[in-house]
């Protein structure tokens, strides 16, 4: 495939495109669009919690909003932007391929996610409203229509949308895996891969292992709902003053399947953010990342452990306490390799020559967020303290730091950094720095304060916390958190304006504006169809040759394609 095959019509170029860069951007734009909903829902939640006396929404709407905020943000914003968006855009460019291994599958993957998004949004307007059983969709609430208002058509659409999401993720994952393993250009050995590509590889393998069990759970739940099976429903349940005709199932089975997927999912979306931080930090610290190999080994250990610790979400679920003790021992063990990743990010500043450009600011804040989230996780992985913290705002604060803050900071670092490669223009810097400050300050404020609320025992998914006296000490924090949330949303409006303005009017970018050594910067900005001209680049070295080489060279970096001096 060379440039001569470039599609000409608008539809084949921008809509039903086979080009990984266009598809990557389609994912990112879709994530932005869904992010508008996810963000708006968060504002409603925060308003209700700060001013419960006004009853901003009804209780049933509140539960739908909580459910849909979580679902949309985790799957349709963060996963889409980070894994599918950056995965698609970066993998071929960073491994020296003209496109993904299966471009058609790639296009199908995107066009499967579109109906999934539409079904999710459609579920808001069906009778009974959107799903209201939480983003975890535990049965019986999610299985029996009369259990909660959103458990009618809304929950069915939720399950169908999730099924489509899983299909799309698996199609995308097959592409990422095959492309990384088979389409690396000449000279690009596995240990010359950028760390970002390693994280996409590990994330993809985790996804391919973890999504099928979730698919099984979704299908079984649909069967329980519509064909009267009893996978998750036992005998003797009473709803609407009648004994329901189910027999032999258990809700715990669903929890096991959900978290068998759910825990790896954390690393599926967190690892790529860490990988992006490694790329950005190497470029702006003008220094190879500290501990390339230990980072690779650490993320492999993290991935392996993440598959066998799902039970720490179920310490008080009625699961055997002996099993719980095993899950606790294994769960906190993840801290070890994960701390290696974190400390390698820290040490990557060592002996550097740091340029505090906007992407770098986001990457540095990400290190801090990983520390906060990672250490907070110990309180929840330790079974004994989790008895107290389970389902409190400590959990909410913790996972917002990990899969909300770390991932978003990674997304932003990546967008500011690769924007020139995406659009051939620079993303506005002054507004970018304002966006940075107005993002990290509210984020930390909100999520750290939520930890304190959790220490006070405040429970999540409570429509009106004033019903309980024990929340009195911590619900005064709801108002500052809500104000911080509004500031955060305001900052994202600045970002979106800056983004779309810069796409069309930003200053023209050079091919390699950050003096980066990475392979993707040897392609033109924006990269053309097929990424490189007549010949694919040949890789001579790893992508991190930065620094003062003391060999008389004028630059402080050597591109990955530059032959080693004899």
């Amino acid at each position: 495939m060379t440039n001569s095959h470039e599609p000409q019509s608008f539809v084949s170029k921008y809509i039903f495109s086979l080009d990984h860069k266009v598809i990557g951007l389609q994912y990112i734009f879709t994530a932005m669009f869904m992010g508008l909903f996810g963000g708006a829902l968060a504002m409603i939640i925060r308003s209700q919690l700060a001013w419960p006396e006004h009853g901003i929404v009804k209780p049933e709407t509140y539960l739908s909003i909580v459910t849909m905020h979580g679902t949309i943000m985790v799957f349709f914003v963060v996963s889409l932007a980070l894994v599918s968006g950056f995965g698609n855009f970066l993998i071929p460019l960073m491994v020296g391929a003209r496109d993904m291994a299966y471009p058609l599958l790639n296009m199908l993957s995107y066009w499967t996610i579109v109906p999934a998004c539409l079904l999710m949004l459609l579920s808001f307007v069906v009778e009974g409203g959107a799903a209201a059983s939480g983003w975890t969709a535990y049965p019986p609430l999610s299985a029996i229509a009369s259990a909660v208002p959103g458990s009618g058509m809304g929950q069915t659409l939720w399950l169908l949308a999730m099924a489509l999401f899983i299909v799309s993720s698996i199609m995308g994952g097959l592409n990422y895996l095959t492309t990384i393993v088979n389409l690396r250009t000449k000279g690009l050995t596995m240990f010359r891969l950028p760390l970002a590509i390693w994280t996409f590889l590990v994330s993809t393998i985790l996804g391919l292992l973890a999504f099928p069990p979730l698919m099984a759970a979704v299908i079984m739940l649909l069967l329980d709902r519509h064909l009267g099976t009893s996978f998750f429903l036992p005998a003797g349940m009473i709803l609407g003053n009648e004994v329901l005709p189910y027999e032999g199932g258990t809700p715990l089975l669903f929890q096991h399947l959900f978290w068998f997927f759910g825990h790896p999912e954390v690393y599926i979306i967190v690892l790529p953010a860490v990988g992006i931080a490694f790329e950005v930090i190497a470029t702006f610290a003008r220094r190879p990342p500290f501990g390339y190999k230990t980072s690779v080994y650490a993320m492999l250990v993290v991935a392996a452990l993440s598959m066998i610790v799902w039970g720490h979400h179920m310490f008080v679920s009625g699961m055997s306490p002996y099993v719980g003790e095993y899950f606790s021992v294994a769960s906190v063990f993840i801290t070890l390799p994960f701390a290696v990743l974190g400390l390698n990010l820290v040490a990557s500043q060592w002996q550097g020559n740091i340029r505090l450009e906007t992407p770098m600011l986001f990457a540095l804040a990400l290190i801090s967020a990983i520390g906060t989230g990672g250490l907070g996780g110990l309180f929840l992985g330790t079974a004994t303290s989790d008895v107290y913290f389970h389902d409190t705002y400590f959990v909410v604060g913790h996972f917002h730091i990990m899969i909300g803050m770390v991932t978003f900071l990674g997304i932003f670092a990546g967008i500011y950094y690769w924007f020139p490669k995406m659009f051939g223009r620079m993303l506005g810097d002054r507004l970018g720095k304002i966006h940075f400050w107005l993002t990290v300050i509210p984020m930390f404020t909100m999520f750290v304060l939520m930890h304190y609320q959790g220490l006070g025992g405040s429970l999540r998914r409570i429509y009106d916390p004033t019903n309980y006296d024990f929340t009195a000490a911590t619900r005064t924090l709801n108002s500052p958190i809500t104000h911080a949330a509004f500031l955060l949303v305001f900052a994202q409006a600045i970002f979106l304006l800056n983004f779309f303005y810069s796409v069309f009017k930003g200053p023209k970018a050079k091919q390699n504006p950050w003096d980066s050594a990475g392979l993707e910067w040897t392609a033109a900005s924006p990269a053309p169809h097929g990424n490189w001209g007549e010949h694919l680049p040949e890789v001579q070295r790893w992508p991190y040759e930065y620094g003062d080489f003391s060999d008389g060279s004028e630059t402080d970096f050597q591109p990955q394609t530059q032959p080693t001096a004899q």
Binding site: Y292, Y463, D548
Partner: protein
């Protein structure tokens, strides 16, 4: 190093990291967030929490100081070193968190946490008070087994068969002699201080979770299963029961009370209670 004027941006960044770093200790100096503990094992849970707060807090502060120092020192230096660190140094640096976090995390789970976990799920005292707690959308019912100390049979069918006497909340089966002296109460759970209570938890509809922050107790109620929790109240007083597992529309107001009485007051109170059938 240091001979170049630092730009405002790096000063601001340092300020930010400093604030993040201090936000954790500051929060704890400001006030005690944990509600006063009112159970025996709860003291142990608080101990685990405080152990983790101190150890991870120290790691958090030291980690931020190292990050700040490295960023501050290397910002705008003009020149960086290209000399990859030897793999030996990298592995040694990796050993630091492995050892530190290994000790902190497994000490929390195995050394300090496990004995407390055993109090929660291990042997029940021989004289423990046996109670059953039943959840349904959106209220709690308490059943005391009565003088025979045996919970009588129940059935879901008996729950929905409303009689002239009204709601048979927990579905007691009148044909079972053991059921005749069972006491059934609504929303308030009364307990004697200083005596272990062993609670069987059942739900009639969806999942609920029995949670009393002051007791540091939380246990899900799962359809089809009978789960269990045990603890020893240590302070006389009234404590809120909250449902902590999303259970539907009224989840937020599924509130109950656990009232801890002196042994004497509890015995007097229990003696006065009428059984569900005999009144």
């Amino acid at each position: 190093m240091g001979n170049r004027k630092k730009p405002f941006l790096s000063i601001a960044l340092m300020g930010f990291f400093l604030l993040v770093m201090l936000s954790i200790p500051a929060g704890f100096l400001m006030k005690t967030w944990l509600p006063p503990v009112a159970s025996k094992h709860g003291v142990g849970i608080d101990y685990v929490i405080h152990f983790l707060l101190w150890t991870t807090g120290a790691v958090f502060v030291v980690g931020h100081l190292v990050l700040m120092w490295l960023v501050w020192q290397n910002t705008g230096k003009g020149k960086s070193t290209y000399k990859p660190v030897s793999q030996k140094v990298e592995f040694i640096w990796a050993l630091v968190p492995v050892i530190f976090m290994g000790v902190i995390s497994e000490a929390g789970v195995l050394v300090i946490g496990r004995p407390v976990w055993q109090q929660l799920y291990g042997e029940t005292d021989a004289d423990a008070l046996k109670i059953e707690l039943i959840g349904r959308q959106f209220e709690w019912f308490v059943r005391y087994p009565g003088k025979d100390g045996v919970f009588g049979k129940t059935s879901p069918e008996a729950v929905i068969k409303r009689t002239v006497d009204g709601d048979n909340f927990v579905g007691l089966d009148k044909s079972d002699p053991a059921a005749l002296d069972d006491i059934v109460l609504r929303s308030a759970l009364r307990l004697p201080v200083g005596r272990m209570v062993s609670i069987r938890l059942r739900t009639q509809d969806v999942q609920h979770s029995f949670s009393v922050p002051a007791f540091r107790v939380k246990q899900d109620l799962v359809p089809g299963l009978t789960t269990r929790t045990q603890f020893t109240p240590t302070l006389v007083g009234e404590y809120e029961i909250a449902c902590s597992e999303l259970c539907g529309l009224g989840h937020y107001k599924m509130r109950g009370m656990a009232i801890v009485l002196t042994e004497q007051n509890f015995d007097d109170w229990l003696a006065k209670q009428k059984s569900f059938f005999n009144d």
